[in-house]
């Protein structure tokens, strides 16, 4: 799967949890999920589970520690496909 396609799906999955919708318009690989998109940190687990379901992968707890930006999520998922 192309990285751009993964990116598109990641952003789509993130959208319901994003509090700063304006930030979605300029989202990129460097966009911080918690700080820029204002996703509630307690809800990050739901986002990750949605990644698992959508891409049919399994993500370990420790993997989540590496996810700060949208690009981190895209790279993590791409590495498991």
């Amino acid at each position: 799967m192309e990285q751009s396609e993964v990116m598109e799906r990641v952003v789509k999955i993130l959208t319901p949890w994003v509090k700063d919708e304006a930030a979605l318009g300029k989202v990129g690989m460097e966009t911080n999920i918690l700080e820029d998109l204002k996703v509630n940190s307690a809800r990050l687990v739901d986002v990750v589970i949605a990644f698992e379901d959508d891409f049919d992968i399994e993500i370990a707890d420790e993997d989540v520690d590496l996810v700060n930006t949208v690009g981190d999520a895209v790279n993590l998922i791409s590495g498991k496909l």
Binding site: S41, A42, V45, E58, I59, D61, V64, D65, N68
Partner: protein, 274 residues
């Protein structure tokens, strides 16, 4: 008194050895953190009972708080402790800034904590609330606190979780508020369950959770402090959360079981008041 929430436990073949291995692994992978923990533990073994004693005096004389039937609660706590020598993670509902002090007061006397220093729970306060000055940071150090920045960099949060797992596996005790912050609705909120709690419980074989529900009789909702002169009711239940799920889903499942137990205890509290 300990309730098992489900039947599966993949990591329970030899919990003691598995925990020893976890301690060994963390000592190899995080040597600096382990040394820092040993330093803070040494200081807090002496300072811990002192800050509990001082805070209880302040809470009793200045705030005029009381804990309803504190002797019974301490007996229950000791019975729960006696059931197993495995790790015990204390998880409580969270309505005020002094909840961790009230829990320390409710579970044991200063003398008890002096005799059992590793049972006095470590806390993970929000660093932006408490760690602003050097004096505050010193207080946090001696009061068995590991500051955490909620919503901060994932690696930093992960380091705090690693340390809590390490100290629990060693047989020390930690207190976490599974809702992550004070409940803005004044009630335990299942949706607020922080998965990090489940991640800790799920990674330590044989880890039990001591659920603590506490509420001042005049505590209508969340705030900084209970009302002056309030009497705090405290209830304890020990559980062993289990889950068949894997990865992040398992951690969320375990965290939700803990929060649901706190919700049941809250329902019992309000039923008893009617």
């Amino acid at each position: 008194m300990t309730q098992s929430v489900s039947s599966d436990d993949p990591g329970e073949l030899d919990p003691g050895r598995a925990r020893a291995k976890l301690v060994e692994k963390t000592s190899d992978s995080h040597p600096e953190m382990v040394r820092a923990h040993a330093r803070q533990r040494a200081v807090s073994m002496i300072a811990g009972p002192i800050w509990v004693g001082v805070s209880v005096v302040v809470m009793r004389l200045w705030f005029r708080y009381r804990i309803a039937d504190v002797r019974r609660i301490r007996r229950e706590y000791q019975q729960i402790r006696a059931q197993s020598d495995g790790p015990l993670l204390v998880c409580a509902n969270h309505l005020t800034l002094v909840d961790s002090f009230i829990i320390a007061w409710a579970l044991g006397s200063g003398t008890y904590w002096l005799k059992n220093p590793d049972e006095l729970p470590w806390n993970t306060p929000e660093s932006t609330n408490f760690g602003k000055t050097v004096f505050a940071r010193l207080l946090l150090f001696i009061a068995k606190c590991i500051p955490i920045t909620r919503g901060g960099a994932r690696e930093d949060v992960g380091d705090v979780l690693e340390r809590v797992k390490f100290l629990l596996a060693k047989g020390e005790t930690a207190l976490l508020f599974p809702e992550a912050g004070r409940s803005r609705s004044g009630r335990v909120e299942e949706r607020a369950a922080a998965w990090g709690v489940g991640r800790i419980v799920g990674s330590i074989p044989g880890c039990r959770v001591l659920c603590v529900y506490m509420r001042g009789r005049n505590q209508e909702t969340w705030g900084d402090f209970p009302a002056k002169g309030d009497t705090v009711e405290v209830a304890l239940t020990a559980i062993e959360p289990k889950s068949d799920a894997k990865g992040v889903r398992r951690s969320r499942d375990l965290a939700q079981q803990i929060v649901r137990q706190l919700i049941r205890m809250e329902e019992d509290y309000f039923d008893a008041r009617q």
